[in-house]
């Protein structure tokens, strides 16, 4: 374009000008523009919206369908019968107790041949009471070992089914009703052949609480 101007350009000018150009397009227009249109785009598929997919739960609670919660009695001090979550489905173990702002916890796993891995797994097998499971599920890996993020909202269908004896004992709900409840909450991606089957723990627990607060069922 300006062939005659070229030699006079300060060596830093192209770099600084390009950074300004990038700041405008990729740091301003791109993320801010997308944020502006995101609610309308998300409406097509995700009614909970692009703001963390928060929905209302029972008794004034709310939860994000994306993130799990620290529903477990694994480290409850004292007797299991006084733990508030004894009658609920438990989440996977988490090094960060499902606290998203402590995100780093997902990154400190035990090595594959670390004796501490065995100890932790045995502890969880014991505390979740799945050591004497006789069903085809065996001891489901997911409910006795860490996830990658420490925020995994899901457990495997087996991971839910093996918890039913404990829940039936503490809630008095018949096992058949609980099994039906779990079956109704098994999800996968909506595309055939894509993704694993799973149960969203908080969603399942919300349904369980609803079930117990509705008189005349079960």
């Amino acid at each position: 374009m300006n062939e005659s101007e070229r030699p006079q350009v300060h060596p830093l000018r192209p770099a600084i000008a390009f950074l300004a150009f990038m700041l405008f397009w990729v740091s301003l227009v791109y993320p801010f523009g997308l944020s502006a249109v995101a609610p309308y785009v998300a409406e097509l598929t995700n009614p909970a919206g692009p703001g963390g997919s928060v929905v209302a739960g029972p008794n004034g609670t709310s939860y994000s369908t994306l993130v799990g919660e620290n529903i477990t009695c694994a480290y409850f001090p004292g007797n299991l019968s006084s733990c508030p979550f004894r009658g609920l489905f438990w989440s996977r173990p988490s090094q960060i107790d499902y606290e998203p702002f402590l995100g780093a916890g997902g990154e400190d796993p035990y090595g594959p041949t670390d004796p501490a891995l065995i100890n932790q797994t045995l502890y969880y097998i014991n505390v979740t009471g799945v050591h004497n499971v006789t069903s085809a599920c065996g001891i489901p890996e997911d409910i006795v070992t860490d996830s990658a993020s420490g925020l995994d909202p899901d457990i495997s269908p087996c991971g839910a089914l093996v918890q039913i004896p404990r829940i039936a004992y503490y809630t008095g709900e018949p096992q058949s009703v609980l099994t039906a409840l779990v079956d109704a909450h098994i999800e996968g991606s909506h595309i055939p052949g894509v993704g694993a089957m799973y149960v969203n723990v908080v969603g399942l627990d919300v349904a369980l609480i609803d079930l117990m607060s509705t008189p005349g069922t079960g």
Binding site: L12, Y30, G68, G138, G195, D205, I209
Partner: protein
């Protein structure tokens, strides 16, 4: 072994990714040889505005030294800018999470890390980077580093086309990499992520009242926008510390597949772009096939080693779906595996599994990808490494059968070989010297401690990841220390700019010679024999350089895993 029923979607996706790469490669060849494309009417005005602002003439053709100086100055300015941003973020706007300015060593490591396309994170995104830093510093660098790599790759390829010593105009290549490739595809990718449920908001966080205990704060931000360039640009730094394992960043099997698609796209498009640019369709094939073979082999080995961990057998835990410690429930093992292999072998470095929890065999598999750096490697630079390996293979092959080393009509001489050898040898140097220093002076601390061979693997992985500009980590190393921050910044700089300079120097040298017609002594590089030779060459050279280290690390940990 695993049931095969969970495999099909993974193979469909690989095919889709390669198909997309083929289209993109042809499109990029048009863009970088100034032929008309669909986006011309939209992007021309934007581009001419920026050229005016920069005061450069995009038609001015640079020799390699001028190209390299422009590239270095641009990136140095960007690093300084982001370094200042991160240091001062405590008093800058949009600091909703109340973070402090980073200490100088952490700011240095972070800015160099994102500038070199490594995106290794010694900081915790949720607590140590403000939204302002993420948007105006890190997103900017993610675009810039990917564009820099693409520009250098294109410039090197031009060396095979030209005879006047020039390899293109850096500013034009850089601008067009952003306006014609990265930004349009990122916008589409981000919209897909929003549709699939990834958060995209300028709200800093949302607080919920969970069933379990007190309020739970959930950090948010423009995650979909971040995701798209993280994967497309083979950057790999997470918006969250858990990266693509975080259910906020990668909430479903579908988003996982979209992420893999984006990562495959540009690295695998390079051989197609190359074939189009040198106008010899057959010449892209050996590079593509060699790359893909190493990649698929790695995927197969990953699935094998990760299918079972004998060490855990004594606990009686069912491993029917594979060894899934440190994996997320919503992905099948083949999906997690494809994500992880794609991410490591494209040098993206995003993680959807806890790498430290993987079986020893799987760790070897991933380290191998970072040793090779070229199967397919990162945006632009990966293809540069493929070409450098190809030049070496031709040279060695030529010596073995007594033929003249030439490639696409260009003689491969002392100059090209010197640069290629320096690049290949700099990788083990940049990895092994700091690893040795770490252990000699006992500078590493681990949490959890783990066994000694695992500790060695973790440190080896740290420096390998930095030198390869990968950015993934095995976790248990406490790496936000003065030593690891400063050493890491040096290793990443060497691992990035030495290969980039070599690519430009080789391109410039090839561009300065005329083209000789193929004689009877020329190796046929578009043949199956050469493809096989290239695969073996890469494998043997990598093995010779790195096998001893693997023996001290992952091999020593115990059973490798698998059936």
């Amino acid at each position: 072994m695993l049931g095969l029923s969970t495999l099909p979607d993974v193979f469909v996706l690989i095919c889709l990714g390669l198909l997309g790469a083929a289209f993109l490669g042809r499109y990029m060849a048009k863009v970088f040889t100034a032929r008309p494309t669909l986006l011309d009417p939209v992007m021309r005005p934007v581009e001419s505005a920026i050229f005016r602002l920069m005061g450069v003439d995009p038609s001015h053709q640079m020799k390699w030294r001028e190209y390299a100086v422009s590239l270095l100055v641009m990136n140095l300015c960007a690093v300084v800018f982001v370094f200042l941003l991160l240091s001062l973020q405590g008093s800058l706007p949009m600091n909703y999470w109340g973070v402090h300015g980073m200490p100088w060593d952490l700011a240095l490591h972070t800015s160099v890390s994102f500038d070199t396309n490594t995106d290794f994170q010694h900081y915790t995104p949720e607590t140590q980077a403000s939204l302002f830093s993420a948007i105006f510093g890190l997103i900017l660098l993610m675009f810039l580093s990917a564009a820099t790599g693409i520009a250098a790759g294109v410039a090197m390829i031009r060396g095979f086309l030209r005879k006047d010593s020039t390899i293109g105009n850096f500013y034009q290549d850089l601008t067009q990499a952003v306006t014609r490739v990265l930004l349009p595809i990122s916008i589409l990718g981000a919209l897909l992520f929003v549709l699939a449920g990834v958060p995209q908001t300028l709200a800093q966080s949302v607080s919920v009242v969970p069933l379990a205990g007190p309020a739970q704060g959930i950090p948010l931000g423009p995650v979909a926008a971040w995701d798209a360039i993280e994967f497309l640009g083979t950057n790999g730094g997470g918006f969250y510390a858990a990266n693509a394992a975080s259910p906020l960043q990668n909430p479903s099997a579908l988003t996982n597949l979209v992420a893999i698609f984006l990562m495959l796209l540009i690295p695998f498009s390079a051989p197609f772009m190359f074939a189009r640019m040198v106008r010899k369709e057959g010449e892209g094939r050996p590079l593509f096939v060699a790359t893909l073979t190493i990649f698929l082999l790695a995927l197969f080995l990953f699935l094998y080693f990760e299918s079972y961990n004998p060490f855990l057998a004594s606990t009686g835990v069912s491993q029917g779906s594979g060894y899934l410690v440190g994996a997320e429930q919503r992905f099948t093992l083949p999906e997690s595996a494809l994500f992880q292999v794609t991410s490591i072998f494209t040098n993206t470095g995003a993680t959807s599994m806890s790498l430290g929890a993987l079986t020893p065999g799987t760790q070897i598999d991933l380290l191998w990808g970072m040793f090779v750096q070229a199967a397919p490697g990162g945006d632009g630079t990966g293809f540069g490494m493929i070409l450098i390996n190809t030049l070496l293979a031709i040279f060695v092959g030529g010596l073995m059968v007594g033929r003249t080393p030439e490639y696409l009509g260009k003689k491969i001489g002392k100059y090209e070989m010197r640069w290629s050898t320096v690049v290949i040898l700099s990788h083990p140097f940049a990895i092994l010297i700091p690893t040795a220093i770490t252990f000699i002076f006992g500078l590493a601390q681990f949490s959890p401690a783990g066994v000694a061979s695992h500790q060695f693997t973790v440190v080896l992985y740290e420096f390998t990841s930095e030198s390869a500009n990968n950015g993934s980590a095995m976790g248990s190393l406490i790496d936000n220390t003065l030593f690891f921050n400063v050493t890491g910044a040096i290793v990443m700089t060497v691992g990035r700019y030495l290969p980039l300079l070599a690519m430009l120097a080789i391109g410039g040298s090839l561009a300065s010679q005329g083209t000789a017609p193929p004689g009877p002594g020329t190796i046929k590089t578009d043949s199956a024999t050469f493809t096989l030779f290239l695969i073996l060459f890469i494998t043997i050279v990598t093995g010779m350089l790195f096998l001893p280290m693997l023996v001290m690390g992952p091999f020593a940990q115990g059973p490798l895993g698998g059936g």
